[in-house]
Symmetry: C2
Subunit: 339 residues, 2 copies
């Protein structure tokens, strides 16, 4: 059993912790938090051993009647691997602690690519993570692009990818975010960080990305163009290729799903925890081939699509399983793969 610690129990951390408990080859040693907020209470309700991430704030947990199992350093020492799900930049501050304990660490996509040994996407470069001490699971958008581009590159070759990312302004709980009633080029200068970030997974891929921010909280949506080196005779081949990927959901036209709201309803209706969508959600009807140019729209659930990747990254880093077996185990345990 792989003993897993989760440091940071917010949007990503709580999902990764739940996913760890569903793996037959993993054990959740505990989770660490800085403050006794509502997520701390749900961690305890689930029976997860809870550790204080900041020494001085630990009395606040006791005052709130929330039991702590100890300090995060004890948690890290007791684990075979730690998944750092702290806010962007905090992972880098935590790195020396993991280093001192000799515990390999996974970080999230908000950390800088150059602070880790390797950036990770299961479909893209699983095997390269083995034995690394510091591994970064790339961000939700980069994960979504990597999953999509990997099979396309293998089957047809990518001459050039051009992607406009229409990004949600903030998550539903981020009440300090915007914009309200506007469409912002963000960043206004090219490229957005997504293109270079995809290159941490596929160094040779030619990709230009443009980012915008809009008043929506549910999902990101990508307008994707890929100029193919060797385009197939028809779009049907692309549909078959992408449809075979477990983490790409080709939204059938008959479902009448027009956007992220309907996708979320669908996910909740079929019993997905928190209404999560771990898969890229591609509109099947958007798949188009104009000469060598492939086009499509895909929606990315920023809160959950990296969760299966974090689980795979645990096995990849410790070298316990190969890619196919890990992805299958993860998908099977979570229920990844929509009809």
């Amino acid at each position: 059993m792989i003993r897993v610690a989760v440091n940071g129990y917010g949007t990503i951390g709580k999902r990764v912790a739940d996913a760890v408990t569903l793996q037959s080859d993993m054990e959740l040693v505990g989770v660490a938090k800085t403050s006794p907020n509502h997520e701390a209470t749900t961690a305890r309700r689930k029976g997860y051993p809870l550790y204080g991430a900041i020494e001085e704030r630990m009395p606040a947990f006791e005052a709130a009647g929330i039991e702590l199992a100890g300090h995060v350093e004890e948690l890290v020492a007791a684990a075979d691997i730690v998944v750092d799900c702290c806010p962007s930049g905090i992972g880098a501050e935590n790195a020396p602690m993991y280093e001192a304990a000799g515990t390999p660490a996974l970080y999230q996509g908000g950390e800088a690519a150059d602070m880790v040994d390797i950036s990770f996407n299961a479909r893209g470069n699983y095997a390269d993570a083995e034995g690394a001490a510091h591994v970064r699971v790339v961000s939700c958008n980069t994960t979504g692009l990597s999953r999509l581009l990997a099979p396309i590159e293998e089957a047809y070759g990518v001459a050039k990818a051009r992607v406009t990312l229409v990004r949600r302004g903030g998550d539903p709980g981020q009440t300090d975010r915007g914009p309200i009633n506007d469409i912002l080029p963000d960043p206004v200068s090219l490229p957005s960080h997504h293109g270079p970030d995809v290159n941490t997974i596929f160094p040779a891929l030619d990709i230009d990305t443009l980012g915008m921010k809009v008043p929506a909280t549910l999902m990101h949506t990508h307008s994707v163009n890929v100029t193919l080196e060797e385009p197939p005779a028809s779009i049907k081949a692309v549909r078959t290729l992408l449809g075979a990927e477990s983490r790409l959901f080709l939204i059938p036209g008959n479902l009448d799903i027009d956007g992220a709201g309907a996708l979320g309803e669908y996910a909740a209706d079929i019993g997905r925890p928190r209404g999560d969508l771990w898969e890229n959600c591609l509109w099947d009807r958007s798949l188009s081939l104009e000469g060598a140019d492939l086009y499509l729209f895909q929606a990315i659930h920023q809160q959950s699509d990296v969760v299966p990747e974090n689980i795979d990254a645990i096995r990849a880093t410790l070298g316990t399983t190969d890619r196919a077996a890990s992805m299958e185990a993860t998908d099977e345990s979570l229920g990844v793969g929509l009809p």
Copy 2:
């Protein structure tokens, strides 16, 4: 003096009527409306002769104390040209009336391209409109794309244009529109109508367009990619080329304008009527050249960018002035051309 009638006095019609009164070679004969709403009262306040567009509804104007000069057919008969600014589809219903009166007519971009003799954009195909009986001034987005692509095609050749249009869900007054908190591929199938619509102005241009709708009301925003046939050595040349076009506003970086809200503030602050932005608003800092691929972001004010085009279309259709003289007269009279 060109005697101009405006049929339909809503978002576009009221702006076109105001613009007509500013032209030294035009006279506003009157405007026609279906109902005595707030816009009818402002037409009268400005002293515009007001005509009833629907016979049966004309008593409602009298009941509301709003004086009518007659029925729209009288208005059309008294004019050298009529600008139809009615809602999409109504223009086609009005065409026989204009035909019967022998009055040439301009229509807006919501009408079908195949119901007119020619689709029009001043920068694109001014000279082709002369003598036409039915002329369609293309929509706000197609106008924005035509203005941008015309100089690029002339200077470098367009191998392929690929545009993602992130569209405002509705105008500020359209309280029945959406979406709320979502990002919708719209249409989900490619292409959006904008590409084929650009081809009504530039038949040979290779362009693919994708449309999305978001919860914003102020402006559309385009993510533009143009693969150039003969790219210049640096982006500076493109900046100079586009900067010389009076209807392209290259937003300087130092203005700290991040989106449509700030653009509207700027327009209002400098005294633009209704805060209108007749120019394409291109972010100068977004202009990028990656090999042969040109990229940029531009915002399009859906309520006003076609206004100068309607004025030019009047002169072009009647053959009174050439393109350069008309565009200069229109720009000078309205104040088109931001620093």
